[in-house]
Symmetry: C2
Subunit: 387 residues, 2 copies
């Protein structure tokens, strides 16, 4: 009989616990394990030998695990050194743990790949479950966590747009997460068919920001009299790579940047003389239980189960992933790929999904993204649109 | 037969449309009206004679109206002058409108009271429906719109706290609306029984901010090792009345302030050397359909119907309101009060609901607020709390 240990790395998502649920249920069902453990706060929890007995969770707790955002066992960003991997192997052996799963993004898949190598010849199988709201994980069509972040971006955009339409007296700049990749911000464009036009501009890190062109486009929409809504990625930048949001202050070795939405709002006020405000829904975008995508949740659970099946059969060194088969009807196949395929690679939005000239996304993006948010956005009655 | 006109004033709420629904349904049911109109974008719509035929809405649109946040007919902040009121009376007479309802806060109730006076002797009855997320409207136990803003504050706090608990590596400052009154921020404390302690501090405009004491309290919670979450009202201020968030820039006659949550996060970073970030859920707090309080929605609908019944029976000059009868079981009576009771008065949180020494609210506040959010917050599984 085996002992399975599961660890989470990096920022939480709305469905990382659904993957945990999928892995736990698969392990129980397999009849191959006599313990399923969670590392409290990720790799730090492994090094501290701080484990949570997930096998002891009753049916109610398991049902709640499946639908709870944020990592129920905790996660960490602790950077690991070479000796840490050897130490982890010793700890795993000490506790009789021979099956390990890491759930995370490209940093965690690197950790996972290195631990897998360190375990060579020990009989310990190490595998990966993909996760990231940013969708910058390479090798899989998309990662669990993204669909819910995308649904949140689209739905919050729709709700903010309805509010702005009720009193269209300003330019509203809505900021979404995504330091290098614009996938989340891009998803807010799915609101457009429900809002009569918002977001009017979509500013992505992949599209170089030009102040004059931005202001001209805002002015053009403003002159139509229905307010202006701009979606912007926190990582929006100039052609030379500088962030649009200027540095604010430094503390130690860290530089803190101002919020790009606030910077752009101020620009609109000062350069165009139009009222402007910024909105920053922030980490609700990855922690809001009410806006989880049911497709995302189901895929997260599936990826957890798939990765568990692989390591439980003794197959280490693989990450579970999704391969898109078709958009309509939406279908993705489960695939296993080498962990190294995703380690430390960052996937940006491809050319064909971005309309650089118009500060927008393309139909190709919308077709790709639409199925991931798990169903149409519910209508909101707004009789003042176009009035 | 009568013609009823309904206008919205000030910022939208999550349930202002539920009041509109209540008024429209009451008017239809009464058999006393042959038209129900909405003024597009509030008093500006009356002056522009821009009306929406609400009587023409079918059952599906009406059902959607009841559950849609943001004002479906639009609202405005247009300041009115003396001659505007006389002009409005002429327009009402021209269109044969003899029943008018304003839905809004203390500014709108002032508009409503002045229009009611201007209509003296004309046979036009003018009444008010209470509304404000800020809960600063005097004369009623609370105003529709607040319960949903309170539920959003409590639930978003719970969700953000679960995310922070998963990776407690910083101080998180969460900012809620409320320029002068702390009612919304205070409601975030209802999350506490689900979060194991967050929010750890609650900073209200009614409690003078003291930097040293704030930093000492943050440090004390930080040293317990579970992260720190602070709820702060956008209007937090020093004892001398200055906003904690310093002025950022001026444009025309307007002064723009920085966000208090960002200011406090920077303070924590620079003075305590602890990582800190700010969260600003913003207008999602009044536009999020998913977090509407069912109690708030029901009361909004009731207030709309009550105010409609009053004006349809020819009784002008009154605002509908709620009088608290008991907390457990929760019960409020419907009451009518003179419009002037609420016009331009701003109600802050009373002494007995604030714990100034501990930057917190009191049990008296929690008992008062709990029933308004419409049911317990659903659990989120978080096994890493206290680990």
């Amino acid at each position: 009989m085996s002992k399975l240990l599961i660890a989470h790395g990096g920022a939480p998502t709305a469905v990382i616990n659904a993957s945990l649920y999928g892995a736990v249920m698969e392990a129980k069902k397999s009849g191959k394990v006599d313990a399923v453990l969670g590392a409290r706060h990720g790799s730090a929890g492994i090094l501290a030998e701080d484990f949570i007995d997930l096998g002891a969770l009753g049916p109610e707790a398991l049902a709640l695990l499946r639908v709870s955002p944020a990592s129920a066992i905790g996660t960490s960003r602790t950077p690991l050194e070479g000796p840490d991997y050897e130490q982890m192997v010793r700890i795993l052996q000490k506790h009789g743990i021979d099956r390990v799963l890491f759930n995370g993004g490209n940093g965690s898949m690197n950790t996972c790949a290195r631990l897998s190598e360190a375990c060579a010849g020990t009989g310990i199988a190490v595998g990966g479950i993909p996760k990231t709201i940013d969708n910058d994980l390479d090798g899989t069509d998309h990662a669990p966590g993204y669909g819910s972040a995308a649904r949140f971006a689209a739905r919050s955009m729709q709700e903010i747009a309805a509010d702005v339409a009720a009193m269209p007296i300003h330019v509203c700049i809505v900021e979404y997460m995504g330091r290098n990749a614009g996938w989340i911000t891009a998803a807010s464009a799915l609101a457009r068919e429900k809002t009569g036009g918002a977001p009017h501009l979509v500013l992505l890190p992949e599209t170089p920001f030009e102040e004059e062109r931005f202001l001209a486009r805002v002015k053009r929409v403003w002159d139509q009299g229905q307010g202006v809504i701009v979606a912007v990625s926190e990582g929006a930048r100039y052609a030379d790579g500088r962030l649009v949001a200027p540095p604010l202050f430094t503390a130690g070795r860290a530089t803190y940047f101002s919020a790009v939405s606030q910077y752009l709002a101020r620009l609109v006020i000062e350069k165009l003389g139009i009222k402007a405000r910024s909105e920053m829904p922030g980490i609700l975008g990855r922690s809001c239980a009410e806006m989880v995508s049911p497709v995302d949740r189901e895929e997260a659970e599936r990826m957890g189960a798939l990765a568990a099946r692989a390591v439980l059969s003794g197959q280490g060194g693989c990450m579970a992933g999704l391969r898109r088969v078709s958009n309509e009807p939406y279908r993705c196949e489960d695939v296993l790929m080498p962990l190294k395929r995703s380690a430390l690679r960052e996937r940006l939005m491809p050319e064909e999904m971005i309309d650089r000239d118009r500060y927008d996304v393309t139909d190709a993006f919308l077709r790709w993204c639409r199925p991931l948010i798990g169903g149409e956005l519910p209508d909101l009655l707004q009789l003042s649109y176009g009035g």
